[in-house]
């Protein structure tokens, strides 16, 4: 069989770099970033958030072929920051946002468990019958 191993979808090969920058000379302040062994999860997330970022003029991504796990992200800035800086900023912002989401979720979940336990305790107290009150 000549089917590629499934883990080639997410495992970098020997010496392969996760991300490389290629300056795109056809436009000003523009770079292409090639992400190896990634998919729409990062491609869409990063390019959509880059579009909303300050100093970013243009951002977009493509996955040239569905069987090839490579993402290309093109970023053009207004020149006050480099495309690389714009990308790093977005990554940091997203790490923080997901961090906040995680905290929010755990807080909400803990509150919920607390409430459920309260309910349980209430039921138990009822089960033990009238304690003289």
């Amino acid at each position: 069989m000549n089917a590629p191993d499934r883990f080639e979808l997410f495992l970098l090969q020997d010496g392969e770099k996760k991300i490389t920058e290629k300056v795109f000379t056809g436009m000003s302040n523009t770079s292409d970033f090639i992400l190896m062994k990634e998919d729409h999860t990062l491609g869409n997330l990063l390019s959509e958030n880059l579009k909303q970022a300050p100093h970013v003029m243009m951002a977009g991504y493509k996955i040239a072929h569905p069987n090839v796990p490579e993402v290309m992200i093109r970023i053009q800035t207004d020149g006050t920051i480099t495309p690389r800086e714009a990308l790093v900023n977005i990554c940091k912002q997203l790490v923080a946002s997901y961090g906040q989401l995680g905290r929010e979720f755990q807080k909400e979940f803990a509150l919920r468990q607390y409430a459920d336990q309260g309910e349980q305790a209430g039921l138990n107290a009822q089960g033990q019958g009238n304690g003289g009150f």
Binding site: L9, F10, K18, E21, K37, Q100, F105, R112, Q113
Partner: protein, 339 residues
């Protein structure tokens, strides 16, 4: 390029908000608001495909006189949910020093059954993990039915016998769906279709023919004759995360977030590698530690602070034990710090 993760720009000043509407052993339903669709969808994708779990990957069959072919049984065994509690301490076999598998990168389960009566069912309860595993519950078949049998593997008739040995390994669902932690993830937004992201097919009246979403009451229905809002974007998302049994549903969410953060931290690390030589250096972020093994500097049992000013332990900071998942294995919010 200073960056303070606590100070977000104005549009983000609130950040994502979570409201849980149901949580039990099987599922957690929650609303994620004040986030954009890419943010929500990436979380959904990562929960489906990239959270490490454990599943049977190798089967050695010693005796099979059942009516089912060896490979058929092997496939069924692969799909049986096994508890992933403690899987963060298990190595990927491809990153382990051993030849094929060992106790550091696998869990062995044995199955032996012979039908002495008329007919018997062999189910995942009969799969017995051997003693030498790194974590007490890791690899134990998930039993969620009332009878306590687990999933049916095969049936035997009189004098038929099955005897085999299984090797369960760590993996992610991108490689094979058997490693998926979630049985399904419900994901919806805009219950009244105000954004027109969907076309409702209909015979005569879409409103009468389509059932209302359970979240329809949560959002304002459109007014009669309301003009289309071209600037509107989706910002409330309704998740329904259902577990296959191997990881508790709330942990699927927290682990999904963690995996995404690791991916992003890996990018930050690679993109700023040169910058760090001169000074504030200790940036030992994971080089996507879970995935691109072989890279240098991945000896730590956990991840060193992937992002931020080194030192203080963060969510994925030092040793698996401080991760939200590892600290209070299953159940409950330890105060695993989120960066």
């Amino acid at each position: 390029m200073d960056y303070d993760p606590m100070a977000m720009d104005d549009s983000e000043s609130l950040g994502p908000v979570v409201k849980i509407s149901q949580a039990d052993k099987q599922r957690v339903k929650f609303e994620l608001s004040n986030a954009d669709i890419a943010f929500a969808n990436s979380l959904r994708r990562v929960m489906l495909a990239e959270i490490p779990t454990i599943a049977i990957d190798l089967v050695e069959i010693e005796e099979n006189s059942s009516v089912l072919a060896d490979e058929f049984i092997a496939h069924r065994l692969g799909l049986i949910p096994l508890s992933a509690e403690g899987v963060e301490n298990l190595l990927y076999s491809r990153e382990c020093d051993c030849d094929e598998y060992c106790e550091n990168c696998s869990v062995k389960l044995v199955l032996h059954a012979k039908c002495t009566g008329d007919e018997m069912s062999v189910s995942s309860r009969d799969l017995v993990p051997t003693a030498d595993r790194i974590s007490q519950n890791l690899g134990t078949p998930v039993i969620a039915d009332e009878d306590g049998l687990g999933s049916l593997i095969l049936k035997l008739r009189q004098n038929q016998e099955i005897k085999l040995e299984c090797i369960a390994k760590k993996g992610i669902a991108k490689e094979h769906a058997k490693w998926a932690p979630s049985a399904a993830i419900g994901f919806e937004y805009d219950p009244h279709n105000k954004l027109h992201h969907t076309d409702m097919w209909y015979e005569s009246d879409a409103k009468a023919e389509w059932p209302m979403s359970e979240y329809a009451d949560w959002e304002e229905p459109p007014q009669e004759g309301e003009p289309f809002d071209y600037d509107a974007v989706a910002n409330r998302f309704y998740f329904n995360v259902e577990t296959a049994g191997n990881i508790p549903p709330e942990t699927i969410v927290t682990e999904g977030i963690k995996v995404l953060q690791q991916k992003l931290a890996g990018l930050i690390h690679e993109l700023t590698e040169g910058d760090n030589e001169n000074g504030n250096g200790d940036y030992n972020g994971p080089r996507s530690p879970e995935f691109n093994g072989g890279g240098e500097g991945w000896q730590d049992p956990g991840y060193t602070t992937p992002y931020g000013n080194g030192g203080n332990q963060s969510a994925w900071g030092g040793g698996g034990a401080t991760t939200p998942y590892g600290q209070t294995p299953y159940g409950g919010a330890g105060q695993g710090g989120w960066q």
